[in-house]
């Protein structure tokens, strides 16, 4: 079963082709990693998939439906949730409220529910609060539920962003360099968390620089270089692929970025 399908997706910024006719499919389960040197177009690709940017060319399908160029909030409503390379928390809210806000799509109620607080709205509030605690427990942040999001150390902010994304019950979760800025311990824990997310039936698409994390977590790897897909396959295969080695050796970084 294919969840996400890219067909010749292209994005130009002026003369620069940041994403160059990229095509691949990913299944409805498992973890797929997108790797590539800095500037390869990985984040741009995520922005195209999540609707934050419109492709210059090509098409994107989610569960067989064309989502090319639709608004990010509509992409999210179809079950595709992303996180950001630079953490984007709601800094003005507590850790718990961040996760509650993540459940926006699965709750209802506007001004009437806010003011009159009918029974259903109160029950819904109780449910999302309970769910938020579960998710914080899952990523190991329940001790800091009442802290402000910005008061968390950086590594925990990343985990909070993951918990908040999970709150939206994604069918497909896009994580943009979730291990950036994490220490070895935190990275290991994150790897476990990603595996468990995949086990619960959520497909994960992951951008990552940390090769250990990629090798330990990904079922499949897609490699980008200068906007083009240069390889796709099992982690062990890709690791030995001469094009991939050339791209990494030719770039500024080897392995870690």
């Amino acid at each position: 079963m294919t969840t996400l399908s890219l067909k010749n997706v292209t994005r130009r910024f002026g003369g620069l082709v940041a994403v160059d006719s990229v095509s691949f499919d990913i299944g409805s389960t498992g973890v797929t990693a997108v790797i590539g040197p800095n500037g390869a177009g990985k984040t741009t690709l995520f922005s195209l998939i999540s609707g934050a940017l419109a492709p210059s060319d090509g098409q994107i399908f989610l569960d067989g439906r064309d989502i090319t160029g639709i608004r990010p909030e509509d992409v999210a409503a179809r079950g595709l949730i992303r996180t950001f390379q630079l953490v984007q928390l709601f800094q003005n809210m507590s850790v718990l409220d961040n996760v509650k806000a993540g459940q926006h799509l699965h709750t209802r109620g506007g001004i009437f529910a806010a003011l009159a607080r009918p029974g259903w709205a109160r029950r819904e509030e109780t449910q999302i609060e309970a769910r938020a605690w579960e998710l914080l427990e899952f990523v190991g942040l329940s001790d800091h539920a009442h802290a402000f999001a910005t008061a968390l150390p950086y590594g925990q902010q990343r985990l909070l962003e993951v918990a908040r994304a999970l709150a939206a019950k994604p069918k497909l979760l896009l994580l943009d360099e979730p291990a950036a800025g994490l220490n070895a311990d935190e990275t290991k824990r994150l790897s476990g968390i990603i595996r468990r997310i995949a086990e619960t039936g959520t497909a994960v698409l992951l951008i990552e620089h940390d090769m250990t994390l990629v090798m330990n977590t990904a079922d499949e790897v897609v490699v980008l270089d200068f906007g083009k897909k240069i390889a796709q396959g099992l982690p062990e295969e890709v690791q030995k692929n001469p094009d991939v080695l050339a791209a990494y050796l030719g770039g500024v970084e080897i392995g870690h970025g």
Binding site: S50, Q88, F90, M93, H104, G109, D143
Partner: protein
């Protein structure tokens, strides 16, 4: 991780919880004092409370949703003038006139907000400033209805049907009730799904959209709620004063309401009321300074902004982030 404790919100009772009541106690003290002493102070506090209605709305748009509008006075003017014209030229009673005024302002907010809220940053601010100025020009130029600079006088006082609230203390009591209801409403909005969506828009539009929050829609909702409060304040004003002219809803209204919002505490629940009361009473408190009254007033405002940059109520608010602590690069 222990450093986190300092910024962790209390889940159990702490003595600081009682401090959360301080803005309310101060506000109640000021209003109570006015009620008992009567006279000039009552008038000051009545105007402060009308402004509080305006600022509660401004706070929803600027504090909760983190948007900027320099043009909320337009909605006060629309509703204020509607109230004035309907009760004088058409001899309507007060309540339906206010209702129509607020409804008309809300309609305008929708028509104006729908296109302008798509603008970003400075453009939105400039756009809202233009709305305020255009409304002012209309109130001057459309003299067949608004009487131009002369203004409209003889506007009946607040009241329900034949019962009119004419005494100073009666008006004060009525306004206290209105402000309490609106404050309660803003507190409820803040802790609801709607409020979380507003705060999400304020925190990160990109992240909000990525989680399915229709940012444009919530900005518009916030703008309309804010306009409704501004409109109500405009109508209350004309019925309390009995007179309206273009100057009433001029640019000084924008400046005053911004000062109140920042002094009181932007994004808090108690802030608008506290800010409105303090900013209204401060100049008078410094009358003893005679020629230096404005100087003293300015100095106090600057000190407040330095030592309580998020406003007075934020000092006691459990929901306002403390200073950033460690961690993030």
């Amino acid at each position: 991780m222990t450093s986190l404790l300092a910024t962790t919100l209390p889940s159990r009772f702490r003595w600081t919880d009682t401090l959360a009541w301080l803005p309310w106690i101060i506000s109640a003290g000021i209003v109570g004092y006015a009620f008992l002493s009567g006279g000039y102070v009552v008038t000051l506090v009545v105007f402060a409370l009308i402004y509080a209605v305006f600022v509660i709305g401004l706070n929803i748009f600027m504090g909760f949703t983190n948007q900027v509008s320099f043009g909320q006075n337009a909605f006060a003017a629309i509703s204020g003038y509607t109230s004035a014209v309907l009760t004088t030229a058409y001899e309507w009673t007060t309540l339906p006139a206010i209702a129509v005024g607020v409804a008309l302002a809300v309609l305008c907010a929708f028509l104006i907000g729908y296109p302008t809220l798509r603008l970003k940053g400075h453009y939105l601010a400039m756009g809202t400033l233009a709305i305020g100025l255009i409304t002012y020009e209309i109130s001057v130029e459309w003299s067949s209805v608004t009487q131009g600079y002369m203004g409209i006088s003889g506007i009946p006082p607040l009241g329900i049907g034949a019962y009119e609230v004419t005494s100073d203390r009666g008006q004060l009591a009525l306004l206290v009730v209105i402000v309490l209801i609106l404050t309660f409403m803003s507190a409820r909005i803040r802790t609801s799904r709607l409020g979380r969506a507003f705060f999400a828009v304020a925190g990160s539009e990109d992240a909000a959209r990525a989680l399915g929050v229709d940012v444009a829609r919530y900005k518009l909702a916030s703008f309309i709620l804010s306009a409704a409060c501004a409109a109500l304040a405009g109508s209350l004003f004309v019925h309390v004063v009995g007179f309206v002219s273009p100057e009433v809803f001029g640019l000084h209204m924008v400046i005053l309401s911004f000062t109140m919002l920042y002094v009181g505490g932007i994004g808090t629940v108690a802030g608008p009321l506290l800010g409105a009361l303090i900013v209204s009473l401060l100049p008078d408190t410094f009358r003893a300074f005679k020629d230096y009254q404005d100087l003293a007033y300015g100095a106090v405002l600057i000190l407040l902004l330095i030592y309580a940059p998020r406003g007075l109520a934020a000092l006691f608010d459990r929901y306002v982030p403390a200073k950033k602590v460690g961690g993030a690069p």
